[in-house]
Symmetry: C2
Subunit: 140 residues, 2 copies
DNA sequence: TCTAAAAACAGGAATGGTTACTGATCGTCG
DNA sequence: CGACGATCAGTAACCATTCCTGTTTTTAGA
């Protein structure tokens, strides 16, 4: 099942799958959309009221490091986390904060072109997309 | 000269070109690279020690709103400002924080494809690129 | 030119997401 | 069983940014 793969990825980096980290993963699959650390914290707390917010942040950071989850950051709002680690675009509503996937848009080798045009060693290239969701567009 | 164009852009949105805002623009052209609000503040303060950091933030926000400057945000670091408002990519070194332009890479209509694939009204789509600059790559 | 209203400002307090720190707990391996 | 390292809870600290209050500057009208 999923869990053994996750456990293995953690082990390869010297981490273990603790109950808190498992709870964070469960919260991520329960939560709709793209929850923030605080969202995850609130869900985890329902089952285990003693978890600390810092623990959730640390778990999220470890899980991202080993490639089990993904994070995206829009300015003026907390970082969002996602179980979907496949490359894809998300858009965030600047009014209500909702985040949705944008299907079917690939970046078409932009990373390679970037690497070819900078002396930096590129480690990350993401698109940050903002807009107004249909609901918020209506009452403009 | 430049100034009259800037003054006009401000006026159209109901703002005026105050001495503080002019000082912020001068600081942006003096500063090398892509300064943060704090960087701008320190430069402005050299000539006018009474400016407040909040004023610099407000000036930057107004200047961006009217399209005279551009801002880019990388997570885990303050927002950077830029006099270059032409669409272009910048990369930030995750170790030393230096920001450099990436010449010659266009996004090739990605915005249009995004708009076509989401019910949101897209207001902004930027690339956030990170990596290691040549100096920092050496002592890895 | 004088005056009232609006805009902008200085200074500093407050905010909010995130990280750092400390001492307690857990899990593992001998 | 015993000890060591990893993890955790709880809380304090951090830092970029915004907000607030009273003051100064600018603008527009008379």
């Amino acid at each position: 099942m999923l869990e053994s793969g996750i456990r293995e990825k953690l082990r390869r980096s010297g981490y273990t799958l603790t109950s808190q980290r498992r709870a964070v993963l469960e919260a991520l699959s329960e939560a709709e959309g793209h929850p923030s650390a605080e969202d995850v914290y609130l869900i985890v707390k329902r089952k285990n009221p003693r978890v600390a917010l810092g623990t959730v942040y640390q778990a999220l950071s470890v899980l991202e490091e080993v490639g089990v989850i993904d994070s995206k950051h829009w300015s003026e709002s907390p970082t969002r986390y996602d179980l979907n680690v496949e490359p894809h675009l998300d858009i965030r509503c600047v009014r209500c904060g909702k985040v949705s996937e944008i299907p079917g848009v690939a970046l078409g080798g932009v990373e390679e072109r970037i690497s070819a045009n900078t002396p930096y060693r590129v480690t990350r290239a993401t698109m940050v997309v903002e807009g107004l969701c249909p609901e918020c567009t209506e009452d403009e």
